[in-house]
Symmetry: C2
Subunit: 220 residues, 2 copies
DNA sequence: TTAAATTTTTAGGTAAATCTAAAAATTTTT
DNA sequence: AAAAATTTTTAGATTTACCTAAAAATTTAA
């Protein structure tokens, strides 16, 4: 049984490992809003518990057990987010912090029943896949909107930035999950992207386009 | 902002104060499954924070702030219990431990929306009243079943014992909330009570009868 | 291939919530 | 009103999760 803190470290390491091969102390510290020295302390503890493999100065990797634990927390986080949005009418930009607390509630029964109550959802409100109770989930194949060429089209299926400001911005532009889009132009001046939606046309900065994930309908 | 531990202490003191006027260190220790020395430490801290009034060797009482905080936790505990039973199909004997964790989730918005989602319930699965968002709730007037005389009837509206064993026992006997009962006999030998239900007759020990709460339909 | 910059670890400490053992205060019993 | 029993507090430690400052290792740049 892990403390909330240990669980948060495992989750952070898991997410960092999705992007980089070897996860560095400083990266963990930044993510956890703590100091590198504290991270080193915790890594040693997690290593003692067999949750991470650790060689001094070489970063960490999750062990099988550690990875399973992390995935379980991710599962809980995402299921609670679905609950908050689908059942309690929260907006997609309001759920993260509460889910951050709820994910630590320890009851296998609770999560299985919640999953069922929600209809075994496959993705959370941000398009992220929800692992099933055995920790399995499809590795979704997204393309960043920024990578599309003029004329390409697809469906918004996720975001790679969960800040409230970003999500609110997308909402205002009508760029929400499930929306069908087509890139109609890329501005020479600043690289901003012109998007055609079913009913309107919007312009988004490169920065925004980087964090919108598209499931492509192939080239057009 | 209080820690989970502080919240649990406040809630325990609140519940003990419902029964006794001055709440003793040892009583808190027993309830919290900890040592009296630890309780003294925590009481001092709560007193420093203005959540309890404390005079050495004289026990504690909650301040207005302390009491409001405690009631808020009780509200959350009971709302989550309703959620677990009504929405996730938990039995009334399965919800306590999970609610014990959920009650500490800190989000005013979450609880208000949960309350609404549940239809603003007035009582939890054990018949205990749920404070509204201003901390107000009707002080329910119960009679213990043990206090009824032969011939008296009423409705089961609560229990004063939340252990799984006790609740399972009641369930097996068909003595659940809302059931109409009449005392048909009190056994001379062991004081056990004979109860008439709509469809059957059951016998319960004095110990069980002490913990069933009845809203009386008056004498009969 | 040194020197400089960066990353990571170690050393030593703090605060919260516990504990045990022993002392002090209060209450109950003779 | 003593003595005995009970309750409560104090003293001194421990564990967890942090911290700062400084040392050590690694990586990058000159
Ligand atoms: Mn968290
Ligand atoms: Mn999410
Ligand atoms: Mn609790
Ligand atoms: Mn209850």
């Amino acid at each position: 049984m892990q403390s909330y803190t240990e669980e948060n470290y495992l989750k952070t390491i898991y997410h960092l490992a999705e992007r980089t091969t070897n996860v560095q102390t400083n990266a963990i510290a930044e993510q956890m809003q703590t100091k590198p020295a504290s991270v080193t302390d915790m890594i040693k503890k997690l290593a003692d518990k067999g949750l991470v493999d650790y060689i001094k100065y070489q970063g960490v990797t999750l062990t099988e057990t550690g990875k399973n634990t992390a995935i379980d927390i991710v599962r809980k986080h995402r299921l609670w987010e679905v609950f908050l949005v689908d059942k309690l009418n929260f907006k997609w930009d309001e759920v993260h912090d509460v889910a951050e607390e709820l994910e630590h509630i320890r009851s296998v029964e609770l999560i299985e029943r919640l999953d069922e109550f929600l209809g075994f959802p496959k993705a959370d409100p941000h398009g992220d896949p929800i692992p099933d109770k055995n920790g399995r989930f499809a590795k979704t194949q997204f393309i960043k909107l920024i990578e599309l060429k003029v004329g390409d089209s697809g469906t918004i299926t996720g975001v790679s930035q969960h800040s409230s400001a970003f999500l609110k911005h997308l909402e205002k532009l009508g760029l929400t999950l499930g929306k069908q889009i087509q890139v109609s132009d890329v501005t020479d001046f600043d690289g901003s992207v012109e998007i055609r939606l079913s009913d309107k046309q919007v312009n988004i900065s490169r920065e925004v386009a980087k964090h919108i994930l598209i499931s492509s309908n192939g080239k057009n």
